[in-house]
Symmetry: C2
Subunit: 197 residues, 2 copies
DNA sequence: ACACCTCTAGAACGAACGCTCTATCCAGGC
DNA sequence: GCCTGGATAGAGCGTTCGTTCTAGAGGTGT
């Protein structure tokens, strides 16, 4: 265990490293983000980074992806609570994503997709962290549908489709610098969900 | 212009560089793929690569993404022709993607997504090549829908949604080492398309 | 006062990066 | 025969990569 001050100071530095790494990986990918860049922008030194993460770059990335995953889960939870009707809630979610994406200058996309795609060959730790994040998000959508009376099988299949479609639409929106792909996906997903009523 | 033999020999090497780069970028991303690795695996030398692509790494990548985009367009065209009904055709497309993905050991995913996400900050040439590829694919789906009597606005919105959903589902399938996300997306997209009938 | 431990600090290492450069090879034109 | 220019070949440039290492700062327990 640690004393109060030690906890505060170390958690501070560690936290800065994780959040900075999360933002950089989201924007530049895993390979494109260097350990030294993370340390510099987090206002930490290389020594500190390797002190908190003896596993090196991959360990930092795993923690960062976990952080991003939880952050997006919170966003998703709130967006899904914005409406009683799951179809409307999903569409709201897409619209909010579109607005946030534009506000970031089209660079803050899905926090796990880039890292996942780059590391498919090896780096199983990172891939596992990405898989867990995706599962979490699907679970949130699935629970929303179950709460609205959907059958279990339908909810599961719809949830996977919704998360996948939002991911793909976000990439399309980023590449085209346009909110439209996300807004379209939102509308169509809402229509799909309503088709079960 | 070039003589017949010169064309054959130079196109051979140039072609090998492009196809090799396309495969490597698809699997490792743009940043994760080195010029020397491309040259080595294409059985070319560094001199040849810079001879054919004075623009360096980015120029090679733009050509590679163009190649991958056209290749996937051909795949898409054929898959969409597998059934008269557009809903059935899209579902077939998802299933074929799932089968091919498994066969590749889950590593040969969407050929442009990874490169697009890594280079969102700069490298506008690469981003443009990705945007063009996506537009091409959407156009193919849209034309299939128009041929089945869909309204222009519906066809456009559905096409964007279909391509986006397939992309996202493919990433999910890769991360989870499972065909299910793609098969689910195929079923749901078919249902969505049929809801317009 | 002293030892101890967490955390910070950054120099240094070998490897790999993208790219430039010179040298060589070889077919076609004169 | 010689010259020209496309194509091949790879050594070497400066830089950055991830990682390791030693040194010291600052606080706590005895």
């Amino acid at each position: 265990m640690q004393t109060a001050t030690a906890t505060a100071s170390s958690a501070g530095t560690r936290d800065r490293i994780v959040t900075t790494a999360a933002r950089l990986i989201q924007r530049q990918g895993y390979v494109g983000t260097g350990i030294k860049q993370i340390a510099k922008e987090a206002q930490a030194t290389l020594g500190s980074v390797y002190h908190f993460f003896p596993g090196g770059k991959e360990a930092v990335a795993v923690a960062a992806i976990g952080h991003s995953g939880a952050e997006f889960a919170a966003f998703l939870r709130e967006a899904l609570d914005s409406a009683e009707d799951p179809a409307e809630a999903v569409e709201n979610c897409a619209v909010r994503l579109a607005v946030e994406l534009r506000a970031s200058g089209w660079i803050d996309g899905c926090p796990v997709t880039a890292a996942a795609l780059e590391t498919l060959g090896g780096e199983t730790g990172i891939q596992q962290a990405c898989a867990e994040a995706l599962r979490d998000w699907e679970r949130l959508v699935s629970e929303k549908l179950l709460g609205a009376g959907f059958a279990a099988a339908d909810a599961r299949e719809l949830a996977t489709t919704v998360i996948g479609a939002l991911e793909g639409a976000e990439v399309t929106a980023q590449v085209n610098h346009s909110e439209e792909p996300l807004r379209m996906a939102g509308r169509q997903l809402a229509r799909l969900i309503r088709s079960y009523a």
